[in-house]
């Protein structure tokens, strides 16, 4: 089982997901969030909270497959994000642009 954050998080970073993570598995850089697969329990709690549907679980679509490795590599080297933060300025426009 795998759960990953993908490109829709970029320039949005709403961070609603981190509030419902029961095991604190979200890490972040300035751009977006990543899930540490070693810690994530694949409970799916975060998936419906993302306003831009950036989080995917199995079966991961073909065009999002590369994000499995990106999450796995980036998450452990970045600080944890466990509290809701302000979304990026312009996140709501970005959300509209993405069609949500």
């Amino acid at each position: 089982m795998t759960t990953i954050v993908t490109d829709n998080c970029k320039r949005c970073r709403f961070t609603d997901c981190v509030m419902v993570c029961p095991v604190a598995c979200f890490h972040g850089d300035d751009e977006m969030l990543y899930i540490d697969p070693e810690v994530c329990i694949d409970c799916s709690a975060c998936i419906p909270t993302c306003p831009v549907e950036a989080i995917y679980e199995d079966p991961i679509p073909e065009d999002k497959q590369q994000w499995i490795q990106i999450n796995e590599e980036r998450a452990p080297e970045l600080p944890l994000v466990t509290e809701k933060e302000d979304a990026y300025p312009g996140a709501e426009e970005r959300q509209k642009e993405l069609g949500f």
């Binding site: 089982m1 509030m19 419902v20 029961p22 095991v23 329990i41 694949d42 409970c43 709690a45 679980e57």
Partner: protein, 460 residues
């Protein structure tokens, strides 16, 4: 202005209940800027609520939030007062004298009833009883489940219903290396059940289980999932529901069901049947349950507001055992207002209210606040929201001297209550894991309170 929440005068908070919402409330309090001391009350000697006794034994990953709770419990500002029942061993009125604030996170401990004739026949059970039994919860240790019949019926189509179905459907080999209670595995090993019917009042588009739980029913060693393709035909309102992205999780479940429906005829020893648009109206039997009478329903109403309406057409299904899993409700505690209809503590976003008025110092989070919806993680956001209000109220809380755990322990000692500390629990935990090791299981739970206490006394 009081100095409550400083090193000299820490805020003393009691949390009642040690499940996910309790621990996430503790986490939020301990992380907060004011200095807070948290004492968590739990009626059992073992903490972690439904993560320990609700999550199915074959879902070990979903129990990993316990690792988070262990880290919270190891804070020097945290104490566990286990084996203490608030409202029985110590009153809520007394707690208010010991603490500045009390947060109730005691969950929804009982099942909703079907309210149909025959509901209490022998052989008719609640999912809670069965789940508690196979998970070694002391309240359900002596439940008796007669699995000598060939047909079992589960009323409800949520994730708990799927758990019950899967535990009934699995072979002993699929369960024996989990932390399932020994007494349950012994009974399940003798099970004669061949057909399991999971029955929902609405259609396949409205079923509440998640697609990942459902998918597992198609991956069992000796059980085939059975779905009648005719049952998957959707009305226009349900098709409209699927067109709405908010229902994409239901759509995924539906796709799993389509996969089940297109499978070749079942060949395995057991079958689990997903049945829709049916409501039980009566349980029949002489000495014990023999059959359930089902009313066929049709859906009526606008998309996302469809309700099941009886068609008047009845059918009977012979069965020897039935589990109802149609939702939970909370249990009242003396001294706290209770909403009988909702089965929750009445509250405004987490502040407990009595009629229109906020009751100072009393808070609520988790299922006892909002009802039994959401999963483990949902409670984190919920508890954080409650704690935020509590901290906003801090300047107005009764800042008088509140003695906290030390004085509570003295009072309970006078009442002959054996308080189980977190260090005590760690010894029980280690003993359970050791017991499990010999059986090739992650742990063998103590399923009786007396066994846990005897273990503590024996090892001094």
């Amino acid at each position: 202005m009081s100095d409550l929440g400083t090193e000299q005068s820490p805020l003393r908070a009691a949390i009642v209940g040690s499940g996910p919402s309790g621990f996430y409330a503790a986490e939020a309090l301990l992380k907060s800027k004011p200095v807070v001391l948290v004492d968590m009350f739990e009626r059992l000697p073992s903490p972690f609520g439904l993560v320990r006794s609700g999550v199915a034994p074959d879902h070990p990953k979903l129990k990993e939030p316990i690792l988070v709770y262990q880290r919270i419990a190891e804070s020097p500002q945290f104490q566990l007062l286990g084996n203490v029942m608030v409202g029985h061993d110590i009153s809520v009125e007394e707690l208010k004298n010991f603490y500045h604030a009390v947060v109730f996170t005691c969950g929804a401990e009982t099942d909703r009833s079907l309210a149909i004739p025959g509901e209490n026949l022998l052989g008719s059970h609640t999912a809670t009883e069965f789940v508690g039994w196979y998970n070694g919860h002391p309240d359900y240790r002596d439940q008796v489940f007669d699995l000598s019949h060939d047909t079992a019926v589960i009323i409800g189509q949520g994730n708990v219903a799927v758990d019950v179905c899967r535990i009934l459907a699995k072979t002993v080999d699929e369960l024996k290396h989990t932390d399932i209670a020994k007494h349950a595995l012994e009974v399940l090993a003798q099970s004669k059940i061949r057909d399991i019917h999971m029955i929902g009042r609405r259609g396949p588009a409205q079923a509440k289980f998640t697609h990942s739980e459902l998918r597992e029913l198609g991956e069992l060693a000796d059980c085939d999932p059975v779905v009648d393709p005719n049952d998957l035909e959707l009305g226009s309102a349900s098709r409209e529901e699927f067109a709405d992205r908010r229902n994409r999780a239901n759509m995924k479940s539906y796709e799993v069901m389509q996969g089940f429906a297109s499978r070749p005829s079942p060949t395995r020893h057991r079958r689990c049947h997903l049945r829709f648009l049916r409501s039980p109206v009566e349980l029949k039997g002489e000495e014990r349950l023999e059959r359930v009478v089902l009313m066929k329903n049709r859906l009526e109403g606008e998309p996302s507001q469809q309700v099941a309406r009886a068609t008047g057409e009845l059918e009977e299904l012979a069965c020897g055992v039935l589990f109802r899993s149609i939702g939970y409700r909370g249990v009242a505690i003396a001294g706290v207002p209770f909403d009988e209809r909702g089965g929750v503590f009445p509250n405004q976003e987490g502040r407990i209210i009595d009629g229109e008025n906020v009751v100072p110092g009393l808070y609520v989070a988790g299922w006892i606040k909002r009802g039994p919806t959401g999963i483990i993680g949902t409670n984190r956001a919920d508890s954080v929201a409650t704690v935020k209000l509590l901290l906003e109220d801090l300047p107005n809380l009764d800042a008088g001297s509140k003695p906290g755990a030390d004085e509570v322990r003295k009072l309970l000692k006078d009442r002959d209550i054996r308080v189980v500390s977190y260090a005590d629990w760690q010894r029980i935990d280690a003993a359970e894991m050791q017991r499990g090791e010999t059986a090739g299981k992650p742990r063998e739970k103590f399923a009786r309170v007396e066994e846990m206490l005897a273990m503590l006394d024996a090892s001094g």
